[in-house]
Symmetry: C2
Subunit: 120 residues, 2 copies
DNA sequence: ATTTAACTTGGTAATTTTTGACAAATATAA
DNA sequence: TTATATTTGTCAAAAATTACCAAGTTAAAT
């Protein structure tokens, strides 16, 4: 990575998943209570989501996409990338993990993976 | 992706985390019972790991690296990449997630992330 | 075919983690 | 202030993970 890029990374705030949700919610003129209701959560729960204190499973993700009228693939990307990055950080894992993960994901998609084998 | 690459992906078996562990175990001339004992597992547990039926947390990962005399970073990479790929597949998430995840991971590393904020 | 060792699989109980709901505390705005 | 919005902590229920055990299968050898 170039020095410029590295500097930018250290200075520019990266939008977290919570920031992303909050931004879209505010753009839509909703408060936490209103949006939370649409996804079966109370305002406290949504607050925690927006502040990265977690909570949220896939069905909520889909409801959120619908409520905010955003692309499901996009919100999944935002959500999972955050989870992955946190895991990588937590485990102190080299970032090369992501390249390998992408290869594996493509491989899973290319073969018709047996659900039993992978238990999902 | 080129047709050649795609063909290769569909034909070549990609080594899973379980395959990786099994290969190293066999290379060292250990059976499941022996290796399992070194990481505080029974043979059934190790069998499940090798067959992708999961089990395994970080401390076992470190023990495994030690028992198999392999680089800790390497085993973490193998382990996490598999988890990430499975999640991506399960969520039907676009593979662009990995590029974003890598950016986020680099960002987390570049700022001195507050543990409280991210709760890890 | 029988024996033996290695491996796989399923069940289950114990533990840990995640979740949603509530309430209190804090902040923001009118 | 008063009202509204957000944050935070706690708690119990629900879900997921884990270790452990035992039964079942496979494979190799003789």
């Amino acid at each position: 990575m170039s020095k410029i890029t590295k500097l930018n990374l250290t200075r520019l705030k990266m939008e977290s998943f919570g920031d992303y949700i909050r931004r879209l919610r505010v753009e839509k003129g909703l408060n936490q209570t209103e949006l939370a209701a649409k996804i079966g959560l109370d305002s406290g729960g949504l607050s925690k989501v927006e502040n990265g204190k977690k909570e949220l499973k896939e069905n909520k993700l889909l409801l959120l996409a619908k409520a905010l009228k955003i692309d499901v693939a996009d919100i999944k990307k935002q959500y999972l990338s955050e989870k992955f990055a946190e895991d990588c950080f937590k485990y102190k894992c080299p970032e090369a993990v992501f390249q390998l993960a992408e290869e594996k994901a493509k491989y899973y998609k290319s073969v018709n993976i047996k659900q039993s084998k992978l238990k999902f």
